[in-house]
Amino acid sequence: MTTPLGFMKSLTTRLADAGLPFAVTSGMACVFYGLQQTTKDVDIVLPDAGEPRVLDFFEALEREMPRWRVSYRPVFAAPLDRDYMEHGWTSHLSLWDEPNSAEHHLDIFCRPPRVIELERSAENPIFASRHVVAMMKRTNRDRDWPIVGALGWQLKERHPAQALLHLQDPQSLLDVWEVSPSDVRTNAAERRPLLRLLPDTRGVDDLSAWLRLERLLWETVNEERYRLYESAWRTFYRRWRLDDSFEWPTSEAIRAQHERLREAVRRFGLERDPLGAAGREEIYERAACRAIVRADSTRAKLERVRPALQEVLP
């Protein structure tokens, strides 16, 4: 039986052979970086996810001997179409890489949240860099934030400028700031305004409070962002389920499933660009207002740690 790790290696070898650029991220990348003990899903960034050759790739897997089976998963699986994938949707597939294999989950990002440029690990380029993983982990799940901080720790020697963006431990942040050249400080502070507070901080307790406010802002932005995709999918899915022809997913080959899903999103209206439709500035402002309330803070304080829109909702 193929384990999730074996499946990841098998799949990534084939992606590389097919010439499709990709990077493994999230849980499996955290296993690679020594930060996550258990995960089964394989998450990949696939910049060409909306291109026809990606579907061709999965079809080719179905023709292998022994045969693979590839299927969309029941929920939240936007079609592998450029119109959706380039607007931040993710697509979720199940794959079986041999007749009696376990079901493997593959989650595909084309434009991963908060990632401006796809960087790869220098140690093994099949994995996304620590910086990319840390950006993707800025969610509203408590368990993700220790990973952000730990990736920052790992970057201290490797890439101090990026460490400054991710460290969550106040003393470590102060230590790295202390030894960073002024151009590195300036550039990092452009991306993380909280760093501008370091020269005048009144110690680690003071800095902890600013770090909590900053984290709460990222968490709330992610909540607002995610809610839009969730709501768009729910609305679409409810309409689709009422249709007499509803059946999802089917046991058909992946291309037939894909055509079925494309037809459904056309007929029952799955919003292509939830962020664009709601407006990024409006989403960010709503999140900022909520973060102030949740932190029992003030607008003036929040503005001191608030990153640029391009950082949080690129």
């Binding site: 790790l5 029941p74 220790p146």
Partner: protein
């Protein structure tokens, strides 16, 4: 483009593992001390012997946590 300038996995200072223990727990910190090969071996054993939960858990409850047809 890649990120880091020190490719080999290096030993981290003790303070790093203390940070992991403080934020993720002692077990996670102990696991992080293993070599990459040892970590992969442990994860493989875990996958072969238990049905650990899906990593993705934010689906709407009406959609059964993303595991079953709606």
């Amino acid at each position: 483009m890649s990120d880091e300038t020190a490719p080999p996995e290096s030993e981290y200072p003790e303070a790093y593992y203390e940070y992991l223990a403080r934020t993720m727990g002692e077990q996670q910190a102990a696991w992080a001390r293993l070599s990459r090969e040892e970590r992969e071996t442990e994860l493989t054993l875990l996958h072969l012997t238990s049905d650990s939960p899906d990593d993705l858990a934010l689906w709407p409850p009406e959609l059964n946590g993303g595991r079953l047809p709606g």
